[in-house]
């Protein structure tokens, strides 16, 4: 007996949010030049019904983390550690159990709005596919659910019959979001959901996601390089650098009172909203690039770009340690106050030409 629309909605609405615990997660890609450790021993928890932000520059491994949570990485990636969804380890699941968990417990909003829908199927059919893969409902019932999801993201139901190429970028991203909520999964992974869109659309999409999250009370991991988005959306934030978490804690504390120089530098690189009368702070970029993960530095991975680096930073890799309400991986947590002041000045971040 397949379910009626009402029964489907009732069963989906009663789903609790999921608790996510990530323990010692490591991802190693085997390449022709040798193993590359894209993610090393990451730990974080997402409490049920909260939003967790994962922030870092391109290539720091944040998308790799998200994909490994759903086991979407190619076979060339070796994933270690544990990904616990309400205590069950996703990484240890067999194929069948994994397929059952995908989309019912953990759903995904992918990065590129333009290419994440199959061009030769209608958008409605793709949403219906996600529903009928897991719940025994008729096509008509699944379609009604898709219409409901379209209404939630503000798209007219008749456009379900159209193909992705008939949608604008913003509409496509909304369709992908509608699909992500089709089974009301307890945990939503949003991998840079607004990167491909223009700023106005970015704002619309993010507030749409926030609204839905608030209403449905889901857990979410939001990956972004935009600190402003995180500060508006997430209770907790982790700053990633070169495959590691370098600072993590309540978003307000991390952003107001950073302990890691990278977090300070990252904030400088984004425009800030000023209080009245405050002078416009300059945008300061962090010079240099991410270290080569084939041959990672012996000491702190941020050391080559850090304006405050010392001999100890070069020799010794700092651990993530609690300090106040947050955790930070820096040898000089005690000098954070001094760093914060210096970090606001552009000349601090200016690289001196290497004379050899």
């Amino acid at each position: 007996m397949s379910m009626t629309f009402e029964a489907l909605c009732t069963s989906l609405e009663s789903k609790p949010p999921v608790r996510l615990q990530v323990q010692d997660l490591s991802v190693t890609y085997s390449t022709s030049k040798g193993p590359v450790r894209a993610v090393s021993q990451i730990n974080f928890d997402v409490e049920p019904g909260t939003n967790f932000g994962l922030v870092g520059e391109s290539g720091c491994g944040k998308s790799t983390v998200v994909k490994s949570l759903m086991r979407l990485l190619p076979d060339s990636a070796k994933v270690g550690g544990k990904v616990l969804l309400d205590g069950k380890d996703v990484l240890a699941m067999d194929r069948k159990a994994l397929a059952a968990v995908r989309w019912t417990q953990i759903a995904l909003v992918t990065q590129s709005a333009m290419n994440s829908l199959d061009p030769v199927f209608t958008v409605g059919d793709q949403i219906v596919e996600s529903i009928r893969a897991h719940v025994d409902v008729s096509h008509a019932v699944a379609w009604a659910r898709a219409e409901q999801m379209f209404a939630m993201v503000g798209l007219p139901a008749e456009r379900l019959r159209e193909y992705p190429h008939q949608f604008s970028g913003g509409m496509r991203q909304r369709a992908v979001i509608a699909m992500a909520f089709s089974l009301n999964a307890g945990l939503l992974l949003a991998d840079e959901p607004t990167t491909a869109l223009d700023p106005i659309m970015q704002d619309q999409i993010m507030s749409r996601i926030r609204d839905i999250q608030q209403r449905l009370h889901r857990s979410m991991v939001l990956v972004t390089h935009d600190i402003a988005v995180v500060s508006e959306t997430c209770e907790t934030v982790a700053i990633m650098y070169a495959g590691r978490i370098v600072e993590m804690g309540p978003t307000r504390d991390v952003l107001n009172k950073a302990y890691h120089p990278y977090t300070m530098g990252l904030q400088n690189a984004f425009p800030r909203i000023r209080a009245k009368g405050e002078s416009k702070p300059p945008l300061i970029s962090i010079s240099g690039g991410l270290p080569d993960l084939l041959h990672p530095p012996k000491g702190c991975r941020f050391e080559p770009r850090c304006p405050f680096s010392t001999e100890r930073c070069r020799a010794e890799d700092p651990e993530l340690r609690p300090v106040g309400t947050v955790m930070a991986a820096c040898h000089h947590i005690d000098r954070a106050e001094e760093f914060r002041r210096a970090a606001l000045k552009a000349e601090t971040w200016r690289v001196e030409e290497d004379v050899q």
């Binding site: 994909k67 759903a107 829908l117 199927f121 996600s130 893969a133």
Partner: protein, 321 residues
């Protein structure tokens, strides 16, 4: 859409007209005179003229051409010099024979080939399935087209003696459709049919494989997988997207392979239209050869049109105006 089809049909007619014209003159400039081949010696000059007139070979080349095209418009392909009856009546049974091996052969070849291509394309890169699939397809594709046929004959006919190796059997007085609906015919059909299928598999396989290999890294495939559908369903998304380049190639290839079937017909002595065409050229039987080429050009032109129209069905992004 209707305007597009109409325009394409007009273009197609132009192509057929040009091909027919070229065919007409090519046969006429060939350095041989059919009359010397077909006329018994000792015929009087007067009798020869009568025959020439009957065959449409009198008058200047230009006059012959105008007459030929005029007859063509009324569906008259002229009379065969060799069989001494209308070319169309000669060709028709041969065409039927060819269709028996061509249509199921091409369809099965396309289905089996693209199905295998999907499996090979979806298999792990650099693995056993991929490597052996590509190797096999390349060997078959690389071998001269008669080799497969001769090997089939050697194994299943000469050595195992399972099937006959020659012709299409004896209808034993059966007429109409019953000529074909009997065990003897099927027994004769199976080997040439297999040859056509095998002949057609490699290109389908390789094209489908490269399409799937390309599609499997697309973002939408990742999202389909994330939805928790079966792996076969994920592969179907990749395969469905890979059909587009396959179709562009498939339809014109169908028509070309009709010509390629000549080889199969000759190897298996299958009395098909391809084999008859070769014989007609050798016999300088112009009307039959020209009629066969005329039909072939129409098939190729229609196949191209069918490819374009199917393409718009398979890919919603394609719109014809």
């Amino acid at each position: 859409m209707r305007a597009y089809i109409l325009r394409r049909l007009l273009q197609s007619m132009l192509v057929v007209f040009v091909v027919t014209t070229i065919m007409f003159f090519m046969f006429r400039v060939m350095p041989a005179d059919p009359t010397t081949m077909f006329l018994e010696g000792g015929m009087t000059e007067e009798a020869r003229q009568v025959l020439l007139e009957e065959w449409g070979l009198n008058g200047t080349l230009w006059e012959q051409y105008v007459r030929y095209m005029g007859n063509l418009l009324t569906g008259d392909f002229g009379n065969s010099f060799f069989y001494r009856k209308p070319a169309w009546d000669v060709l028709w049974p041969f065409i039927i024979n060819t269709l028996w091996i061509a249509v199921p052969g091409l369809l099965l070849g396309a289905v089996i080939g693209s199905g295998l291509g999907m499996i090979v394309g979806w298999a792990p890169r650099g693995g056993k399935v991929e490597r052996s699939g590509i190797l096999l397809a390349t060997i078959i594709r690389g071998a001269p087209s008669f080799v497969v046929g001769i090997m089939l004959l050697a194994i299943f006919s000469s050595w195992l003696n399972w099937v006959p190796g020659y012709g299409m059997g004896d209808p034993q007085g059966a007429t109409g459709l019953m000529r074909y609906l009997n065990w003897d015919f099927a027994h004769h059909l199976i080997l040439p049919l297999c040859a056509v299928i095998i002949f057609f598999i490699p290109e389908n396989l390789l094209l489908m494989r490269s399409g799937v290999v390309e599609a499997r890294t697309e973002d939408y495939i990742e999202l389909v997988r994330a939805k928790g559908v079966s792996e076969g369903r994920v592969a179907w998304h990749a395969g469905r997207n890979s059909m587009l380049p396959l179709i562009t190639w498939l339809f014109p290839a169908l028509a070309e392979t009709i010509a390629g079937i000549v080889v199969v017909e000759i190897v298996f002595s299958w009395p098909g239209v391809g084999r008859e065409l070769v014989l007609a050229v050798v016999r300088q039987d112009y009307p039959v050869a020209q009629a066969a080429f005329f039909l072939m050009s129409i098939m190729i032109v229609l196949a191209n049109l069918a490819a374009d129209l199917t393409y718009s069905k398979l890919d919603p992004r394609v719109v014809y105006k």
